[in-house]
């Protein structure tokens, strides 16, 4: 069975600091990967996705993620965070084309 693991439960950092959230998956076939974000009081929304091609994926709000097949990883990065990036971040892998399998989530708190 596929599983997704996120390395950090809670990350606290200051504005302008760089952010990297780890995500590892276990799956042997073709992989599609997503990062979702849930801002306080808002819906889960898609941040970025990888299907194929360039392993470095750009998403909304300055986020990017790199798919490293040899490491089974899809880490999320942002060079300089803002207070508004405070949110919970979820890595996800679709199973059987539609079931999203989520990691446990990482809460990011950005201090002004």
């Amino acid at each position: 069975a596929q599983s997704v693991s996120q390395h950090n439960h809670h990350v606290i950092l200051s504005e302008a600091a760089s952010l990297e959230l780890g995500c590892n998956y276990s799956y042997g076939g073709t992989v599609n990967l997503f990062w979702y974000v849930q801002y306080p009081g808002q819906h889960l929304q898609l941040l970025l996705k990888y299907f194929s091609g360039d392993p470095l994926v750009k998403g909304i709000k300055g986020f990017e993620a790199e798919f490293i097949k040899s490491k089974f990883s899809f880490n999320l990065r942002k060079p300089s965070v803002q207070w508004s990036d405070t949110a919970e971040y979820f890595c996800a892998v679709p199973r059987h084309d539609y079931k999203l399998s989520f990691g446990a989530g990482t809460t990011v708190t950005v201090r002004a």
Binding site: V4, H43, F90, Y98, K99, L100, S101, F102
Partner: protein, 115 residues
Amino acid sequence: EAGVTQFPSHSVIEKGQTVTLRCDPISGHDNLYWYRRVMGKEIKFLLHFVKESKQDESGMPNNRFLAERTGGTYSTLKVQPAELEDSGVYFCASNRGSGKRYEQYFGPGTRLTVT
């Protein structure tokens, strides 16, 4: 276009009572999904509708949970009777196609507290 909506946003009930959660998907989206997040755990898939048909209900915890999607529009998820372990946030999502390339659009969730 209007997003996925869920009602209520929060429900507090006693063990043994019945609760019905509602999800209105984005208009035109044939696919509707229910997920649940128990506190401290990951978001887990419950079931998938295509129009009014249940395509996959493998994630439903037990027979106390009943999901319906009458007419292929909105969906309800009934928990009867509710148990303490049913507490959590129930998310609904929808999309046009069920392939992995189709983004799922999520609602705000219903926070269910069973006391």
